[in-house]
């Protein structure tokens, strides 16, 4: 059963690696933020599934942190683009 979790984690990492193209070649900064946001979602899922594969519950909190704070970063970037610093 655990090899299924490892396969899911590796596939999520591969999908995130696919998004490096948009992160490098995005014409505007919003494209890069969108790609980074999606990559962090995939990374959170990959960490969750890797913790289920390895049986280490300590990685679950890293996954929760990634899933919550990456969006906070996106919102802060949007606010900065709209109104400048503060």
């Amino acid at each position: 059963m655990s090899h299924v979790y490892l396969a899911v984690a590796i596939t999520e990492i591969a999908i995130a690696a696919l998004l490096f193209v948009r992160l490098a070649a995005g014409p505007t900064i919003t494209d890069r933020i969108v790609a980074l946001n999606t990559m962090s979602t995939q990374a959170a899922l990959a960490v969750l599934f890797f913790s289920a594969f390895a049986g280490r519950t300590i990685y679950l909190d890293i996954s929760l942190w990634l899933a919550s704070f990456s969006y906070l970063g996106a919102v802060i970037w949007a606010r900065y683009l709209e109104r400048g610093l503060l």
């Binding site: 979790y5 696919l18 948009r22 505007t28 946001n37 999606t38 899933a67 709209e82």
Partner: protein
């Protein structure tokens, strides 16, 4: 039986995630990419998380964390996508030339829209 359900849900979620990533790579402008990033990636993440809940049980620490991540994604992903789209529009990122409607600009030209107006170049 449970393994088959887990594999099927994970395959559905990974297929949706892959299509979302390809959409982010291939779509013509920022707003279409934000659409791919919000809807398709959320739809790709939820079946994968449900697969973990089915595989590990909802009371286990893995299943409960997966449910928590699912709730976080459902709440916070639309907020971030809306903020990014609004910031892109305000900073004047041009739409694709094949776009057919711009309702914010139409409302501003009709005089009933936002006071600060659109930022299109």
């Amino acid at each position: 039986m449970r393994d088959a359900i887990v594999i099927a849900l994970a395959a559905i979620g990974l297929a949706f995630s892959l299509s979302g990533a390809v959409g982010i790579l291939r779509m013509p402008d920022v707003y279409s990419r934000i659409q791919c990033s919000s809807k398709t990636i959320t739809m790709g993440a939820l079946p994968v998380l449900i697969a973990l809940v089915v595989g590990m049980g909802p009371i286990s620490s893995y299943g409960s964390r997966a449910l928590l991540v699912a709730v976080l994604l459902l709440i916070v992903n639309p907020v971030a996508s809306h903020a990014l789209a609004r910031a892109a529009y305000k900073t004047g990122v041009p739409m694709w030339r094949g776009a057919v409607v711009d309702q914010v600009r139409q409302q501003a030209e009709a005089g009933s829209g936002e006071a600060d107006g659109p930022g299109r170049p």
